[in-house]
Structures are given as C-alpha cells and as structure tokens.
C-alpha cells in the first residue's frame, strides 16, 4: 500500500460526498480519498484495492450502512470502519458496535465537532491492526497494563479477545484482581495476558471490589510472561483422535483438545472451503452431520446479515437425546455434541472458550 492512506467515503447523496471529501482532505496524513454512492459500489471498490478506512452513512436506499458494514467486516476484517450519521439512536449505535464498527459518529454540527471528527479519523487510520490491541496505537497488552500501573489508576480494564471477555481491576496502580470465564485472580490474569490481539476498554473503578491478587505488578507480569513462555514451549498433543497415528494436524489437535472438555460427546470440525474434509471425534455419520452444521451456520449467518443483527457468535441446540453447540470461525465450522445434562448456558460458555482458544 502507498504511504498515503486511502479512505473510502460512502453516502448516497453525491453533494454530501463532495463536502465530506473537503472535510476529510484536511486530515494531516493527506489521504487519498475515494467516494461511492451505493453499498455495492463501495464493496466493489474495496475488492479492487486496499483501503485503510471506510466511512459510511447509515441511511441509504437499497443497502443501508449496517448491511454494508456487516458485509465489509466479514470480507475485510482488517479495514477500519466508521459510521457518520444523523441518526442519534442508541439501538443503531449498539448494532453498529456489535457488527464491529470502530467509531459511530453523529454528524458534527459545530466547527469544534468537525475538528474532533478529523482527529478521530486521523487516529483511526494511524492504528496498525496486527499484534496490537485496538484502541491504542501499537501497544501490547503488557504496555497497556503498565500504563495503568504507572498512572496510579483506579479503574477496570475490560479486554475482549474474539468472543471471550476478561477484566482486570486496578486500585491505585496495583492489579488487585482479574476475571475471565470461570477463572479468577492470577490464573485469569495469565489467561488474559496470553491474548495476542483484541480490544480493550477502560471502565469506571469499582472501589468495593475485593482484592484477590497480592503480588507486586512487576512480579505478576514477570510470572505471567514466564508461564506464557513455558506454555508456548510445551509440545502439542501427541495423540490424535480416532486412534490416528503420527503427528496430528492442527485441526485434529483442536478436535482432540475439544474432546477432552467435560460433557462433550462428539466433535466435528469442517472447513468452509473444503466441506468434504472433516475432522471428527466420536461422531456417527460425520459427513452428513458436518454438512448439516455448515448449512445451519450459513443459514443463520445469512439471516443475521439480513436482520443486521451483528456477528453470529454461536448457536446452541437442546435436543431430546443430546445437546449441540455450533460456531463458525473464519472458514472453520465447529459442531460439538454435549451430554443432555449440559445446559444451554454452559454450552454457550464452552463454545466461547473453544472459539477463543482457536483464535489464540
């Protein structure tokens, strides 16, 4: 990509686009600006060349901004996206963020708001996306935690990695607790620290939160880094499911790991680009079952796009004989069968963990 960032502006009103172009041309990074007056045209442009940022209107005929952005998030996950709208509606804001939009901007009404808008866009296109946490430029999670400590912060850091969310509590610059899934305290802190990428958000302090971590920040970070190094150095699983011999593939390793989860009765892992290739453990008729799982996930992904309901996270089925959880990650489709006594809530949490582990 050239040194100048590329920005694509999408609005159905050509006259608005022209003024919009003038505003965005004031960005210090002197971006190359492209415009589109319809969603399909914008998607075609994004397919033809690489962009840094898409700024879209919300209300447009035929394909509205949410529809465009839900397609864009799926097809171009690294692209920064912003909505600029005159619709001050919390539900649309929530849905935009649920889709994964970086910024939801109400159309500015004053010169100061325009300046703020320009600053935000400049910040957004300056952010790299790989190996860092979105929300602060080129910072690892350790950097972010150290910043919180150095600033003697009293706050809660919410960190999201895929579908998993964790929290770290700070009090006067000390890490006092962490939580992710069922984990609490130091083990949760280590788990969160193992995430390579994600989003973070600083929440208000919770003064009454009980302290569960008593180590110094440096000791905590050092031990977590050591644990992480050791975990990385450990060899992968040495046996494959279904008694397959030899070195397991990445997919069969994942199947083997999932098969060890409490309550799991069968596991299927298929790839969207090659539905015939199914890795499975303990599944009867894996091919038709895998086809059903892929078709079901695809069907509800399409429904989600049609409803603009955001990303399909996972799907749980309660059955007469056994329960099932489905999740899609990139081109992979996970179908996990559970014992009848494993409830929907537990299946949901397990599927979240499975997806998060596979992202890591």
């Amino acid at each position: 990509m050239s040194a100048r960032p590329k920005i694509l502006l999408l609005d159905d009103d050509a006259s608005v686009l022209e003024v919009f172009r003038e505003v965005v041309a004031r960005l210090p990074s002197k971006p190359e600006i492209f415009t589109a007056t319809s969603g399909p045209r914008a998607i075609a442009l994004l397919e033809s060349e690489e962009f840094n940022l898409l700024v879209s209107d919300l209300s447009m005929p035929k394909m509205d901004g949410l529809q465009v952005l839900s397609i864009v998030r799926r097809k171009f996950p690294q692209l920064r996206t912003a909505i600029l709208t005159a619709v001050p509606d919390e539900q649309f804001r929530a849905r935009a963020y649920a889709i994964g939009v970086d910024i939801y901007f109400e159309k500015p009404r004053t010169a100061q708001e325009i300046d703020l808008f320009i600053d935000c866009l400049e910040s957004l296109i300056g952010q790299e996306t790989s190996g860092v946490f979105r929300g602060i430029q080129s910072k690892s999670l350790v950097d972010i935690i150290q910043l919180e400590c150095l600033s003697q912060s009293c706050s809660v850091l919410k960190v999201a990695n895929g579908l998993q969310e964790g929290k770290i509590w700070f009090q006067d610059g000390d890490v006092i607790d962490a939580a992710v899934g069922d984990l609490q305290g130091e083990s949760a802190f280590q788990r969160i620290l193992s995430w390579k990428t994600g989003n973070f958000e600083t929440l208000r302090a919770e003064p009454g939160h009980e302290r569960a971590i008593f180590k110094s920040n440096q000791a905590l970070l050092l031990e977590s880094a050591q644990a992480l190094d050791e975990a990385t150095a450990e060899p992968n699983l040495t046996h494959a499911p279904n008694g397959q011999e030899g070195q397991p593939s990445a997919a069969s390793s994942e199947v083997a790991v999932i098969s060890k989860i409490e309550g799991v009765e069968f596991v299927l892992l298929s790839r969207g680009d090659n539905p015939q290739k199914i890795d499975s453990w303990s599944a009867q008729n894996p091919e038709p079952l895998g086809a059903w799982a892929s078709a079901t996930l695809q069907s509800f992904q399409e429904l989600g796009e049609s409803l603009q309901a955001g990303q399909l996270r996972h799907l749980e089925g309660i059955g007469l004989h056994q329960n099932v959880g489905l999740a899609a990650l990139a081109e992979r489709c996970f179908c996990v069968g559970f014992r009848r006594d494993i409830g929907a809530e537990q299946i949901r949490e397990t599927m979240k963990e499975i997806v998060a582990e596979c992202i890591c």
């Binding site: 009103d13 006259s15 608005v16 003024v19 919009f20 003038e22 505003v23 919300l58 209300s59 447009m60 005929p61 949410l66 005159a86 619709v87 919390e90 539900q91 804001r93 929530a94 849905r95 963020y97 649920a98 889709i99 994964g100 159309k107 500015p108 009404r109 004053t110 325009i114 919410k158 958000e201 929440l203 009867q284 008729n285 038709p288 079952l289 059903w292 079901t296 069907s299 509800f300 429904l303 989600g304 049609s306 409803l307 603009q308 309901a309 955001g310 990303q311 996270r313 996972h314 799907l315 749980e316 089925g317 309660i318 059955g319 007469l320 004989h321 099932v324 069968g337 929907a344 949901r348």
Partner: protein
C-alpha cells in the same frame, strides 16, 4: 459546509424488535407480539430458517426441542412445537460493563 450534515430524505432503517411469534408447521404465522414496524417478510424469513433447521436436525437423528442463536445484537430463541415453533427475539443493549 455544515449544511451537509443534514439530509432532506432518509430511508427508514429497520429496528430490531423484542417480542415473539408462533409459526405452524406450514410456515404460517399464527400469532405475534412483534411491533407492526418489524417487517413481516423478515418474520417469515426467520420462521422459514428455524423450521428448516429443526427438520434438518431431525433428519440427522439429532432431534432438537430448542434452538438459541446468539448474534452480537440479538438473541433468537426458538422452541419446537409439534412441527411448528415459537420464536423469541431479544435485542441486546449496548452495555459497557457486560
């Protein structure tokens, strides 16, 4: 320049809705508590996909009684009812602490 921040005409964005509806085995909507602003076309679309999922699961010897579809902004829960279904739609609020 500030004039561009207002538009004369907007197309209506469809709100997600909270509510439920029942659909019979033939895909007919029997009853609904969804707001009238929620397009009937989308209700039928949901019903069609839910019913076909229940039927396809049955064919795989995996008969399901309940289906929960978890989207970022919406939770869809469907209970199988003698070939038909009752479907609940629940929107998710934007909550910074969730």
């Amino acid at each position: 320049m500030l004039s561009f921040f207002s538009k004369t005409a907007h197309t209506a964005l469809v709100r997600l809705a909270n509510g439920c509806f029942t659909v019979d085995r033939d895909g007919r909507i029997v009853a609904s508590t969804l707001p009238q602003s929620f397009p009937l076309k989308q209700v039928h679309e949901i019903a069609r996909r839910v019913l076909s999922t229940f039927q396809a699961a049955q064919q795989q010897n995996l008969p399901l009684t309940e289906l929960m579809v978890d989207y970022s902004a919406l939770m869809l829960t469907a209970r199988e009812m003698r070939g038909g279904a009752i479907v609940y739609l629940t929107t998710r609020p934007l909550s910074p602490t969730s």
